[in-house]
Symmetry: C2
Subunit: 380 residues, 2 copies
DNA sequence: CTCAAATAATTCAACCAATAAACAAATCCG
DNA sequence: CGGATTTGTTTATTGGTTGAATTATTTGAG
């Protein structure tokens, strides 16, 4: 009921917290940063920072680089940066028409990227996962050939996930209650693609700490980021906006209800309405119906969560210029607070790689959030 | 961007955290609890718990009570309970037709309660607040006569609040940009009534850590509790569900849009639809239109946030038996995950006092969450 | 009635991590 | 070249938890 997260704090937790603090201060700095600057930024002592940095360097999380071009008097600073050859994250994705794997290092750079196109639906969950496991193994092999250590793996799926490793239902893949287990010899954290894509957007550093990412694909999902952390809901099923009711008398939806958002702004509905064959054709179509529906849904999200920024991803990203007016009109009409602080609409920065990149990012974020755990692992 | 809340942790923070941990462990225990049991529950050492408890007793946050009826051998335990005569919270409320104040002690008991009925709209913000300040002073006087120390005050208003002390807009009071400042000689934290009512429900201890409280009054608002903490949104304007779109072609709303929830399930709409004069008359009316609208909105909330419990307060609480079927039908239709884990609908435990009680509760929760801060204040 | 067993709470030395202040290193500038 | 300046390290101190030993208070068995 109360908030003091019922775990005791021992001294070692202090160190764990401060290790994370130092590491993240370095991570958030655009340029290499000195120990002294970290101390100033965090409020810790230079002595403490030095001690912490020693640990982080020994654990291959930070590296010292050439002193930055100097100015003024004084001993030159040694620059600190995230280690490009330390732990890395393995990001995996299975979607309707491809499977993919990538390796992202601590600095956020994609080091390897493997994609296999092909319809995953007829294959079945077992074979699809077996093939993905091979892909994961290959990605891992390449990463280790580079001197990277794969710290973990995460998998993005278009569906509902429970308990971190079971796909409860993925309608568009035809999956039901699929336990993922290990892939490429690593335990895998499974999550919804919209959630992970939201994380990858967060990783750009160009967004406020709270926003909602809307993923437009065959289905429509939302990834909710509050205060810099993904909000998953009680069972991990937050962000299911595809079946928000837009019009109680609207067209029937395969979910059994009527007038769901997907019936107006889902990929298939948009193609049908525009008489278009491919997503590319939509760029020239009239999307006002979809836009108004999407705007109504976004207004609901903003009214409920009071987020100031909405990121549109998936097929919406390239179509945003044509959707913006209709969405904006609904927001202005339906969001009471829009007068005081307008809602920002943005297109996603990453294209189809967003979810996979977010999956890898989730792994490295785990290391960045708990470096002490990583250091303990490496020592063992 | 990252999560390690950019403050360094010094050793004293460890103590502050553990003080809160011990205090809350005692608070969450139904019966008096021994130091040894606290140690077992928290994972701290008995020695540490003893030292922390000494501080908490010295600061009038805990008291030792008679050993509980024993069983078995061994030295009898000294029971610990929250102090009934330590800090107390002053809860204030201004609503359309009354103003009120109450004093709640650490244990959650209402010690004093003052209500003045009367339409607050013609009075204007200034006079209403001045009158409330007198009420607050009187409540505080009575509390201190009991030996209580008023730790702070919070005010519930039916409107949007910014920056903890300014009412941006309260449509039903006719307030616009009202800065509250001090009342009864205390700085006041202002918050939305639905938020505070939600907190009071959380305080019952009978709810899961995540739920949504829906307040049905003239307007409709929601208080969102996630993981035991109120979720306020970026600017504190979360939970504005009164203007969720139910039907794009529905009746026009005073907000400028059409088919808002308030036009179906707001107090005035329900009275009009039922041809009733008072809220009491609704108990016998057909509320299916309101119920379906409410159910549609609740389905949206659940799809978005994945909360498993919805608490209905305000005028909805007594009407829940008549609303339940319609709400449930919409939830079943529109919430994909309802098959796996059904959404619980509950009536609120507290009646009209909920918001005021929650305001007082917010104050004592502040003490419970940061006992170290309170101890520092008392020593000064 | 006395003594062993059991449980509660306190005392005390050890330890861990951060701090503050002094010190060493490396550069700039007059 | 020498003082000023900034970075980074060393060392003694301090705050806070731990673990073991100690004291306190009861039940129950002989």
């Amino acid at each position: 009921m109360m908030t003091a997260s019922s775990a005791p704090v021992r001294q070692s937790s202090v160190r764990a917290h401060n290790l994370a603090l130092v590491l993240q201060t370095v991570a958030n700095s655009a340029d290499p940063i000195s120990r002294a600057a970290v101390a100033a930024a965090t409020g810790l002592t230079r002595a403490t920072v030095s001690a912490l940095v020693d640990d982080l360097i020994a654990g291959k999380l930070l590296v010292e680089v050439e002193p930055a071009p100097r100015s003024g008097a004084g001993r030159p600073a040694a620059g600190l940066r995230l280690a490009p050859d330390g732990p890395a994250g393995l990001g995996l994705e299975i979607n309707v028409d491809y499977r993919a794997a990538c390796v992202v290092d601590l600095t956020g750079r994609i080091r390897h990227r493997l994609v296999e196109a092909g319809d995953q639906r007829p294959v079945g969950a077992g074979s699809a996962l077996a093939a993905l496991s091979l892909l994961a193994t290959e990605a891992r092999r390449r990463a280790e050939a580079d001197g990277l250590t794969v710290a973990g793996a995460a998998l993005a799926v278009p569906g509902l996930v429970t308990g971190d490793d079971t796909v409860r239902i993925a309608p568009n893949l035809g999956w039901l209650d699929v336990a993922v287990g290990e892939l490429g010899g690593l335990p895998v954290a499974v999550d919804n693609e919209a959630n992970l894509a939201a994380l990858s957007e967060l990783g750009t550093g160009e967004l406020p700490p709270s926003f909602v990412y809307i993923s437009g694909e065959i289905g429509i999902g939302a990834g909710i980021v509050l205060d810099g952390a993904l909000f998953r809901g009680v069972r991990g099923w937050s962000g299911e906006i595809g079946h928000l009711a837009i019009d109680p008398d609207g067209p029937p939806c395969r979910c059994g209800a009527r007038g769901c958002l997907e019936q107006y702004a889902g990929q298939e509905a948009m193609l049908r309405a525009a008489g278009a064959a491919t997503v590319a054709d939509l760029a020239a179509a009239d999307l006002s119906t979809a836009g108004h529906a999407l705007g109504t849904a976004i207004a609901a999200v903003v009214n409920l969560l009071d987020v100031g920024t909405v990121v549109l991803g998936g097929i919406y990203a390239p179509l945003l210029p044509r959707l913006r007016d209709a969405i904006g009109a609904e927001i202005d009409r339906r969001v009471l607070t829009a007068d005081w602080s307008p809602v920002q609409l943005r297109a996603a920065s990453y294209g189809p790689d967003a979810a996979m990149r977010g999956a890898a990012g989730a792994v490295i974020r785990g290391v960045l959030d708990d470096p002490a755990g990583w250091l303990a692992r490496t020592r063992a």
